[in-house]
Subunit: 418 residues, 2 copies
């Protein structure tokens, strides 16, 4: 980093988060950082800052000796990766909020930090302004984590809250989320659970030391939730939330993204609208929850600024859980209690459930609730069926094999909704 | 710190937290620290560790070159202060969980760290395993905080939860809290709000850069809550929780400890039993909540271990908010909406309320709800009356002068229950 008194920033992108960063930075006391140049894609858009800030040429930032830190805030993950890679290789520290770019290239980016000895920080990529990465790195470095899970995606939570609390239709709620700047420009990233899965990939590295490609993780979104499912939840007093989870069961890590029924007793029940929540479960500190706005211009800008500030103190991630080499691995070899709703004219494969706890059939809708081997679910392809919806049961959700097979209730490893 | 491969700990006290630390440390992977010596007061108590660990002589720890870090976990705040002072003056880093000792001597301990250039860490002193000090220091260093408040005391929360959810009497709930190790040995520290106030003092330094003596802050506990008050809350669907708060209003900081009615919409509603919650409100990241177990052997031991781990990376608090010199000051010059219940045979002073919003009278109980100038409340002495109970109204709680006087609803500064 330069020895000038202020950290000089080169920012890529001036959308929702970029403008939030500018706003937060210009109102913050104490931080010694300033934006020098902003690289944009579209010269014709009207901007709120003087013209001299902007350029269309990425090299004006990447190869500029007057810039210390690259702040990458663009949408396109492929272009973002090129920017981040070039910056690190040229000795410039990087702050990014791009979870897809990170998730797609995580191990390579980790190795690049080691070889270039330049820090890459990305707190804003995970659950907006919740300081989860920093806390996993610094505070839970010596506690043995058993699970990290929660509401990782603000726009689906906003949509589900609107549907449940205000009886708004899915389509209306989605377009409101987009207008408010909570949703990705490609809505399927949110509503199909990809965005939550990218964040889960990042969290897996910092909680269990695992580098996992997004393709290795199963995700199922909220678009299949029908009036029938919503009414089922309401009658029971449940809400439905999209939950990303990773949970240690022996030496394997059960991980994925699925909607879940949330009971009023759960601390996730009150996490509504664009709020995110991350539950960290560990052997000694037991259950901790981090709650905050998972999206929005200023909250995300604030998280970016916090990383910039950390760089001024020479902070970098140490990937402490990776350094432990615990030989854990992500696997679909676990059981999960699911509610699967389907059209009774088109029965489910007879062997999908290990054990059925409840079933219901009417003219147009049927559902079964019971224990499913996760690998069987993934391979069954029933998640592609238009008439099917899959929701994790209220409790216990994810659990070990013995209990699922009805062999021992004591062997049950975890009840997911605290 | 020594250059030996393991950080060598000298521990004062082997009660609930000390044993928790031993337990957590012996199960933790990756941390290079070991307990060398434990100083105890009572040699005749049966201990779970071999005798060679223990000594009655504090100098065997304080002046021992084979000990790098002093871990202070005793009850007595005066003795604790002597231990911490001596350790710092002799160049030994200190980890402590003693909030009363810290609160009573905070500014002196701050200056001692500067003059001795030795770190003092105390995450476990505030809300058990919630990493609030570290996050205020490292993550909110550049955001402008407007308030920090929440449930800071696990035993009162446990008692109130038992009373509200299980209809248990105050006395039974208190003795259960003590049996479970959630309560201080002197229960009045918990139930009269002193414990929460000590934590508030520590939080004030890290959120607003203020060193405030406990005597400057008003605290009112939960012992006056009667069946009448509890029924009032239940009929409205509220819970009652003991809330410590500090909130910026202009250049003054409104701060204190009072019970508050909590609505089901509040994120504090689900914070039950020994859980603590800290809400951090800032201009840019808006509302963040940290939730975790505020008491108990392993959770607190885990927080102590996390500080020990941070010392191995040469971490120290920088008191960044203090360094900003913002000329803020704690003052009772603010308004608060209160519910005050009293015996109708003994009316309240006629001028206590700035504005009365509701009043109720029956044969044995009367209450008034309205806006009270906090300084007038403190000086009135009505909080000493046996027949009186004071609870902050559900919302808005703390607010600015103009709104309280009914002059402008827009001038209202804060609604306390989000």
């Amino acid at each position: 980093m330069s020895d000038s008194s202020k950290t000089r920033l080169g920012v890529f992108g001036f959308g929702c988060v970029g403008q939030g960063l500018y706003n937060v930075l210009s109102h913050s006391k104490g931080i010694k950082a300033e934006i020098r140049k902003i690289c944009i894609k579209n010269a014709s858009k009207k901007r709120s800052l003087p013209e001299h800030y902007f350029t269309l040429d990425k090299n004006e930032l990447l190869f500029n000796d007057d810039i210390d830190v690259i702040v990458e805030l663009i949408d396109d993950p492929v272009a973002a990766f090129e920017i981040v890679k070039t910056a690190l290789q040229n000795g410039k520290a990087v702050v990014t909020a791009n979870k897809k770019m990170l998730a797609d290239n995580f191990e390579e980016l980790f190795r690049l930090q080691l070889s270039s000895n330049v820090p890459l920080l990305y707190e804003a990529s995970c659950c907006g302004c919740i300081p989860i990465i920093r806390n996993l790195e610094e505070y839970y470095d010596n506690d043995q984590l058993s699970a990290v899970e929660g509401v990782f995606n603000g726009s689906t939570n906003y949509i589900l809250t609107k549907m449940f609390r205000e009886n708004v239709s899915f389509e209306t709620a989605l377009s409101e989320a987009q207008v408010n700047g909570f949703a990705e420009s490609d809505p399927s990233l949110d509503i199909d659970g990809y965005d939550a899965k990218y964040k889960l990939g990042i969290i897996l590295a910092h909680s269990f030391g695992l580098f996992v490609k997004p393709g290795q993780l199963f995700n199922y979104g909220i678009t299949h939730i029908s009036d029938f499912d919503a009414n089922y939840a309401k009658e029971k007093g449940y809400k439905i939330k999209l939950i990303a989870f990773c949970r240690k069961i022996g030496n394997t890590i059960a991980a994925g993204v699925l909607p879940r029924f949330i009971t009023p007793e759960s601390k996730l029940f009150g996490i509504d609208y664009e709020y995110n929540a991350v539950m960290v479960e560990s052997i000694f500190s037991e259950y901790q929850y981090f709650v905050g706005k998972g999206a929005g211009s200023n909250p995300t800008g604030s998280a970016v600024l916090s990383d910039i500030s950390a760089l001024t103190y020479n902070y970098k991630y140490e990937y402490k859980k990776y350094q432990l080499h615990e030989n854990l691995q992500v696997s679909n070899d676990f059981f999960i209690n699911l509610y699967i709703r389907y059209n009774p004219a088109n029965p489910l494969p007879p062997d999908i459930f290990e054990e059925v706890h409840e079933q219901y059939v009417s003219h147009n809708n049927a559902y079964m609730i019971g224990s499913v081997h996760f690998d069987r679910l993934v391979n069954s392809g029933i998640w592609e069926r238009e008439d099917v919806n899959i929701i994790t049961a209220a409790e216990p959700g994810i659990h070990g094999a013995a209990a699922a097979a009805g062999k021992s209730q004591e062997a049950e490893l975890a009840i997911s909704n605290k």
